[in-house]
Structures are given as C-alpha cells and as structure tokens.
C-alpha cells in the first residue's frame, strides 16, 4: 500500500477508484459530493474527524485489541463469587456453536420466508421456557430483567387501569432505579419492607399498603439477596383479593427444583435468561423474558414480538409469524404498547439451545447441585470467626449475604485482600443495604468445586485474621 494510492478497504468493495468512477458515470454524477447537495454547506463537517490512526490490516488491529483486552483479569484466572444480577454458569459448547453460526448471528428481522429457522428457534425458546414456567405465553426476549420487570409492571397497570405498584425492598438498587424511571409516567412505585431476620417480604406491610389503586405487586424468588420467598401463595392471594396483579421475578436456573410461580398465583412472571447459556461478557449476556397465561387481555399488552405457529399452503408444514402485530409500535407507532425494536433474539435462541441440552433431569440436577454447593459454602464461611453466613434465616438458592461485622474489616478491605488471593469476593452491599452492616452478596454455582469453596474459606480465614 504505497502512500499515494488511495486505500482500498477490504470491507468496502466499491472503494476501488475505477469502480467508483464507473458508477458515478452510470448515475451521471461528477463526484459523491453531488449526492450530498441537500445537506446545507453550513452543516457539512469541514475538517477530517479527529480519530485515532487506524490499524488498516487485520493483523495489526488484532494485536491492538488483544493488547487492550489483555489488561482484563478473567473469572477463569480468578475464582469468582460475584453474582448480583450477572452469574457465572457453565456455557455448553453447543450454545456457542449455534450462536456463532453466521446465519443466526447476522440475520435480522423481516419476513419468515427467508428466515424460517430464526422463527422456529425463537418459538421453541418460548415453548421450552413455557414448560419451565408452566405458562403458555413467553415473549421474544427483551433487553434484560430490568426491562422485563419494568414492562411487566406497566402491563399490569394497563390491564388494571391502576397506577401504583408495590415492590419488595430486597430487589437490587439498579432494578429499583430502572423501575422508577420507566414507570414514572404512569405508575408510582412503592416499597414493601422485609423481615429483618428472615428477609421474607413483610406480609403486614403489604396488607397495610395494598388498596384498590394497586396495579401490581412485584417480588423475586429467589430474592436478589438469595433466599427463597416462602409465602408466594399468601402474597398472590392478597394481590388478587385487591384486584391487583401478582408479578414474580425469577432466576430460571432455579426452576428445576423451585415451583413455577404460576403455581402459587403469579399472573406475570419475568426474569433474565443470562444463566441459560450466556457468558457474562461484563454484563453483555442479559436478556429479559416475560411470561403470562394465554389470555387476550394479557397478550394484547405485550410490547414485545410474539411468534406464533401457523399452517402454510402445504400440508403438515410448520409456518411462523408475528402474533397480534397490531399491538406493536412497529404497526401503530405511539398507539402501540410501549415500544419495540432490536432486542436480544440471539440470546433467546441460545437459551433455547441450553434448555434443549439440559433437559428436565439436568435442570433438576443443576438446581440441586447449586443448592448443595452454596450451602456448603455458607457453612464453611460461617465457621470463620467474625463472619456470619447467611445473614438471613431462610433457605437460600445460589446467593447469600455474608456479614463481616465481627471481623472489624470493611467489605472493601476484605475484597481487596481477596484479590491478592486471586479471588473475586462477593458484591459489597454496604451502599445498597446499609442496614445489613458490613455485608456482601456471595454467589456459588455449579462452576464451583469443593476445592474452590475451600480455597475461598481459607483465603477469608487469612484475610480476616
């Protein structure tokens, strides 16, 4: 590439000067400037953009980017106990294989004729989620659990025509922030207290607050703080008694051993499918699902795309298409339900692959295994002087709060010290839940072996001494 010759970019076939000239000639233009004639001179950028010098060759580009990325320490090099909304689960190779297929990776969003496979894969994703959840309608996933929860509440508000929602105070600060922003135009979000000993949602505070203005009650199971909410039936009954909708947020990886929320009265269930085959990717693996019964009043309030099965002109041939497209903002702009656009379809397909791989047995085994390991971790850690684990007297699934008040050290100090052991300690909760003192949220999954947990316990022992 001598300096005089203009660069021919490998991503831009027609950057070949000769071809450009041919094409300009074909359209009768003198230069590409002709095409920009509608853009007023004043608005034209006169200078060259001030961007870093490019790495024109793929080889030098790769070396540059790898150089930057090599500054990251991974959860393979370090032992990781962070969860709190993004979880380290094992990703089967087949999940990666399918979502890297150029066909799925680079397709988009139009007619089902060219893209039958995409429709079928997403229909199957919804269908398998439906089995996990014991529910008949599941959306093509939205951005993440935050969005799914926020939309669930707005759906409830539209269904009930009410403008107030109760939310368990054990949800994450991030989710609460999202709910507040997203519900603001229509719904007032109010908090429900929790029992300081068990963490359980405080039924009395619910009973006191709820009224005929209440659109929905939202709580999570397992909760953000890791314990299992035991009184789902009661909560949903109270909601229903007041004409409100019961929304439950769940971690789908728990559903091999935990009962689907619909069975204790949930009307809308939402959550994140990141645990089902998505790498953590610094938080890039999230995708939110929403599920309901197959009732028109629910279905018509989804903003998301919903793919349904349909016959074709050939006998026995499965076709697919958008269900009730007229709901969507694609069809009717601001008259649609909230809005729809690019979401997280590839993660939906991947979660479908995950569920097909793991099967019913696997769901049970992974759930049980996670409980066993996290319980083991809680007990190993709680043996250490000054540490209390778990903080709440409830059954926990994969996460649990660890309190360090007795050690005289802050969570921040402990986590810094753990780093030197190549361990990522649990999420510092001191800002989110000051009432819990010096506490952190630890997460243990099927990726952790006994040795890993013992290593954590030993490191903590050293660190707090």
């Amino acid at each position: 590439m001598s300096k005089e010759k203009p660069t021919v970019y490998s991503y831009i076939p027609n950057s070949v000067p000769k071809v450009k000239n041919q094409m300009l000639k074909a359209v009768g233009a003198k230069s590409v400037e002709d095409f920009f004639e509608d853009i007023p001179e004043k608005l034209r950028l006169k200078k060259k953009m001030n961007l870093p010098k490019p790495f024109l060759s793929e080889q030098s580009l790769r070396r540059h980017v790898e150089g930057i990325l090599s500054k990251n320490k991974t959860c393979q090099e370090y032992l990781n106990f962070l969860g709190a909304g993004c979880w380290q689960h094992y990703v089967p190779a087949v999940c990666d294989e399918v979502n890297q297929r150029g066909e799925f990776l680079t397709a988009y969003a139009v007619e089902p004729y060219d893209d039958h496979g995409r429709f079928q894969a997403l229909f199957e994703f919804a269908s398998m989620m439906g089995e996990l959840l014991n529910m008949d309608v599941v959306n093509v996933p939205t951005y993440d659990w935050l969005q799914a929860a926020a939309t669930s509440i707005r759906m409830a508000s539209r269904i009930t025509g009410r403008h107030e929602a109760y939310v368990s105070r054990t949800i994450s600060a991030d989710k609460l922030s999202k709910l507040r922003d997203y519900c603001k135009p229509e719904i007032q979000v109010k908090l429900l207290d929790y029992d300081s000993e068990t963490g359980q949602l405080d039924i009395n505070s619910l009973k006191t607050g709820i009224s005929s203005k209440t659109a929905a009650i939202y709580f999570e199971n397992p909760s953000y703080l890791g314990f299992i909410e035991a009184y789902g039936d009661e909560i949903s009954k109270i909601a229903h008694d007041h004409g409100a909708i019961c929304i439950v947020g769940i971690d789908p990886i728990s559903l091999g051993i935990l009962i689907p929320p619909i069975d204790y009265g949930a009307d809308i269930v939402c959550g994140d499918i990141q645990p089902l085959g998505m790498h953590m990717q610094f938080g890039g693996g999230h995708a939110g699902f929403i599920a309901t019964r197959d009732e028109e009043k629910y279905v018509m309030e989804y903003p998301s795309r919903l793919f349904g099965i349909a016959p074709t002109s050939v006998e026995g041939e499965y076709g697919f298409g958008d269900v009730a497209y007229e709901r969507t903002s694609f069809a009717v702009r601001e008259e649609g339900k909230e809005f729809i656009g690019t979401a997280t379809a590839l993660w939906g397909i991947t979660a479908g692959v995950y569920l097909a791989l793991i099967g019913p047995q696997g769901m049970q085994e992974i759930g049980e295994g996670i409980m066993q390991r996290s319980r083991y971790a809680m007990s190993q850690i709680s043996n250490i002087k000054g540490i209390k684990s778990p903080v709440f007297k409830s059954t926990h699934f994969k996460e649990f709060v660890v309190n360090f008040d007795g050690t005289g050290k802050t969570v921040a100090e402990i986590n810094k010290a753990l780093l030197r052991h190549k361990i990522f300690g649990g999420k510092d909760l001191t800002k989110e839940f000051p009432e819990l003192g010096n506490s952190a949220l630890y997460c243990v999954t099927e990726v952790h072996t006994k040795d890993d947990i013992d290593r954590l316990a030993n490191a903590l022992m050293e660190v707090v001494e």
Binding site: L43, T106, Y108, E124, G232, F282, G284
Partner: protein
C-alpha cells in the same frame, strides 16, 4: 468441448441465480424428544459436600418445591446440535445474501475478526462487578469508544448503556423529561414532535416516557417544511425527536432552522442517528445544534444484528445534559479508568450494568480498522451505492421513487410499486415473497404505508457493483413476472424453506399459539 460457463451468461451478464434455500422440514423440538436422553451432563457434587449438607431439597419450603420435572424435551447432544444447525441453514443471514433489501436496517458486513475478539475469555469471562483494577481493558474500550462517538457526533458526552436504538431513544426522552422537571416545566411541556418518516420508536418511546406525540407529514419534497414545524411548536413543546435523513433517504435541509425554532420555544432536540451510515464524517448532530442523539452500533457501526439483538444504542448529549445520563459513567484520570455512580441528577439505570460490552468492542474494532478517512469512505460509498441502485431500479417497470423527483438520496430510498400494483394486482409484499425465491431479503416499510406499495432498499457500503446489479436483476425479473405471469408471483415462495403462511390464526386469540404447549392444547380442542 462444451463450455458450461457460457450458459451461465446472457449478453455478457450473469443469468439469475438458480436458488433453493435449505429445507429440512424439522419437527418442533418437542417432537424429537426421547425419554431419558441427555444433551449434557451436570458436574457431580463431591461426596464430601453431599454428606456435609444433607438433603438440601427438603430444606426448600414445601410449597416452593417443584413437584414435577419441567417437560423439557430430552435429546442427545448431537440431535440438539443437528436441529439448530439445520434451523440456522434455514435463516438467511447477511453473511449469505446481498442484504440490500432490509432498508433502514443498515445491513452491512460484520467483520469476522471482531467476532473472534469478542469470543476471547478476556471479554466473555469477566463479571461486571469485578474490581475496576481487573477490568481496565474493557473500560478502556468503552471509554475510547465514547471519545470516538463524541467526535463522530460533535456532542459532549456519551452513554453506551442502552440495549438498542429504541432504548436509547427512550432514555433520551427520559432525559428530556428530567430536564424539564429540573426546570419545573415538566407538566407544561408534555409534547414531543416527530415526523412520520422518523423511525416509529421516536413516537413510541416518547409516548412511553409520558409525552403526547405530534407527528408531522411530508409535503411533496418528502419532509415537512419549516412552516409545519413552526406551527407545531408551542410552550407545550418538550422536544423534537427526529430521524434525518428520514426513512426515504431524503435529508431535511431545514434541520438547523427547525432546531432553532424548537430551542426558541424552550424544547430540546434529539437526533435519531441510528442509521448514520450515509453521513459519517459528512454532517453531525453538533452543527445543527442538537442536544441529544443516538447511534445504533448494530447498524452503522457494523455489529451484527443477531436475529434482532443483543445490540447497543449509544446515546450522546451536550455538556448541559450530561448530568442526566444513566449511571454509571466511565471516567479516566490519565492513568486509570473508573466507574462513577455519584450522579444525583441521573435518570438512573437504563439497562443492567454498562450495556452490551461485546457489541461496543466490535464497533470499536471496526472504527479502529477504518479511521476517520475510512468512516467517511463508508458514507461516501454507501451513498454512491444507493444512488447507483436508485438509477437502476427506476429502470424497472412499475416502480417509482416518490418525492423529490430526480433528486439524489442519501443512504436509502423508499420506492413505490403503486403503478405495478395498479397494472397487475401484485402487491409489494408479494414481490418481496417472490424475491425470497432468489435468495435475498426484501422489506416494504414501517407502517403506516404513507408511500403506497412501499419497498425500502439500503445498499450500504458492503456491496459491490455486481452485487447491486444482481439485486436489480431479481427485482426486474419479479416485475416482469408480475406483468406476464402474476400467478407465479402470487403463489410464491417456491424455492424457500416453506410455503405461503396462513396468517389468520396469528391474530385470532382462539387460534394463536406462542408456545408448543398452547398449540397442543388448542388443536386438541
């Protein structure tokens, strides 16, 4: 000796491709289930752990224990793989076709090197809450990409948190709301102005954020003129949310004046640059004084579309509005990158953590491969391709490019088959379905169909002249068929994975079925 090749050309030009899409006729995955098969085995818990913790399942409150295993299908690993690989072959990704038919979607080449980079464990295996010291690499990428977008837009600060263009538009609307709230004018300023050829999310997201929507319609030039905007603006105006160039590929030359009018009335202006492909390095949000804007990294910036996400809508604002951006923001003190959550006026969280970092990484790598000159080359060639395509398409019988007759377009064109429909009874949708028989996508347009029998083509910079010629030949063929053999078009597709879908059940609550279980229940009735 017989020359096979000769018969592949006629008059020096290649004949149309004889295409058939892979057709596997796969059952629904539940039909493939064989009781007892396993797709993947779960690591066993060590015996010592088991003994120590005892029967954990019995510790679950009784009414919270699952009683029946979920009825997931049971398949061996290779059967799962085979099923999904087959479905993938039945999906026409951009990797496979001349994807100029999905107009407004900016289907471009997503470089494979970028896929390799995001699949490195240094990207996949990092947790968003790790100590900042241990994620300096990815923070650097995010930070540097924000700097790039600042230069590309001229605006002052960016957040990469939104999960797509629409979420970015929503977040921008939320900032407009916060801005007026902060000034105590929120109740009064409850109207957002947009145009019908702006992406529907501008209207829908603003509505979701609590605004009333005022939609302006084009005059014969293809856009509402300045007077129309003036008439729409008032003391109730919270802001303007507009795509430009609009979906027609026409740039509204009054944009600066329009912004002025809105500003004067006390509103904010948000520029939808989701598709900035034709104007990279040419014109920016800064020059006409927009307050907010957003880019779709999965469009102009080459990240693949993934069948519809994951994605990133990067949102940018002026200095004045920076305090409202979502938390956290990334800061750089000259040696370390850190996340700042201490932003009391922020609209809060838009999406979990910091957005879809791997998508940002792809966009970053793409820009770093091209540089400033390359980005401008992208725009110029995209626009050249579009105008070349326009010229060729207009030679086809039955098609026109409404508005601004004879004018050039920026990056895409909304065509109309109105004449062909009148002449033949064939609708634009049907042309698209027949086009599938030649292995390409085709898209009508967003609703409502202001342009009758619409069709939106956007060639981007990724396609060669011969690619464009092939696409034109396909359209020409279908047009010819519409005139000479309309039944062939009406009964299409013929070479696709499936045949004509009966749509009625999809809008009928008693028949629609979004899951296999729902379907089985309904057919059993």
């Amino acid at each position: 000796m017989k020359d096979i090749t000769e018969k592949r050309y006629s008059g020096g030009k290649p004949k149309l491709r004889r295409f058939h899409q892979a057709k596997w006729d796969e059952p629904i995955i539940f039909e493939l289930s064989n009781e007892g098969e396993r797709g993947i085995l779960i690591p066993e818990v060590e015996d010592r752990v088991k003994t120590e913790v005892g029967d954990v399942l019995s510790t679950i409150p009784r009414n919270m224990r699952r009683r029946q295993l979920p009825k997931l299908p049971e398949l061996s690993q290779s059967r799962v793989l085979r099923h999904f690989i087959r479905l993938s072959q039945e999906t026409l990704g951009t990797d496979l076709n001349i994807d100029v038919g999905q107009g407004t979607c900016t289907m471009k080449y997503s470089p494979k090197i970028n896929e390799q980079l995001v699949r490195m464990p240094q990207m996949t295996e990092i947790h968003p809450l790790q100590d900042e010291e241990t994620v300096q690499g990815i923070l650097e990428v995010l930070y540097k990409f924000e700097q790039i977008l600042k230069e590309v837009s001229g605006l002052d600060q960016f957040s990469l948190q939104p999960g797509a263009g629409s979420q970015a538009i929503y977040a921008n609307a939320s900032i407009i709301r916060a801005y007026h709230e902060a000034r105590g004018e929120a109740d009064q300023r409850n109207e957002i102005i947009t145009t019908i050829f702006s992406h529907p999310s501008n209207a829908a997201c603003a509505k979701t954020a609590g605004f009333k929507i005022i939609t302006l319609y084009p005059d014969e030039k293809g856009y509402p003129d300045l007077e129309a905007f003036k008439a729409a603006v008032s003391e109730r105006t919270a802001g303007l949310m507009i795509t430009n160039p609009e979906d027609t590929g026409i740039f509204n030359p009054n944009i600066e004046e329009i912004v002025k009018v809105v500003h004067k009335a006390g509103g904010l202006c948000s520029y939808d640059q989701a598709n900035a492909n034709g104007i990279l390095g040419i014109t920016r949000a800064r020059e006409p004084s927009f307050d907010l804007c957003h880019f779709n990294l999965h469009k102009s910036f080459s990240a693949p579309h993934g069948c519809g996400g994951p994605a990133v809508g990067a949102m940018g604002v002026t200095k004045e509005l920076a305090k409202f951006l979502p938390v956290p923001v990334i800061e750089f003190d000259g040696s370390k990158y850190r996340l700042n959550y201490d932003r009391p006026e922020s609209i809060g969280k838009v999406r979990s953590f910091y957005g879809v970092a791997p998508v940002v990484l792809k966009a970053y790598a793409w820009v770093m491969n091209l540089g400033a000159e390359g980005l401008k080359e992208v725009a110029e060639v995209a626009v050249l391709n579009n105008n070349y395509l326009l010229k060729k398409v207009l030679e086809i019988r039955g098609v026109s490019a409404p508005y601004a007759k004879g004018k050039r377009r920026i990056e895409q064109v909304r065509y109309s088959w109105e004449k062909l429909t009148r002449d033949t009874g064939i609708h634009s949708e049907e042309i698209g379905i027949r086009a599938a028989d030649f292995g390409v996508h085709y898209w009508t347009s967003h609703h409502p169909f202001i342009v009758p029998e619409p069709c939106t083509l956007e060639p981007t910079e990724s396609y060669s002249k011969s690619d464009l010629d092939e696409y034109v030949e396909i359209l020409r063929q279908v047009s010819d068929e519409a005139y000479t053999n309309p039944k062939l078009v009406k009964t299409a597709p013929h070479n696709s994975t499936i045949h004509k879908i009966h749509h009625a059940p999809l809008d009928d609550p008693s028949q629609w079925a979004m899951t296999w279980r729902a379907y089985r229940k309904k057919v059993r009735k």
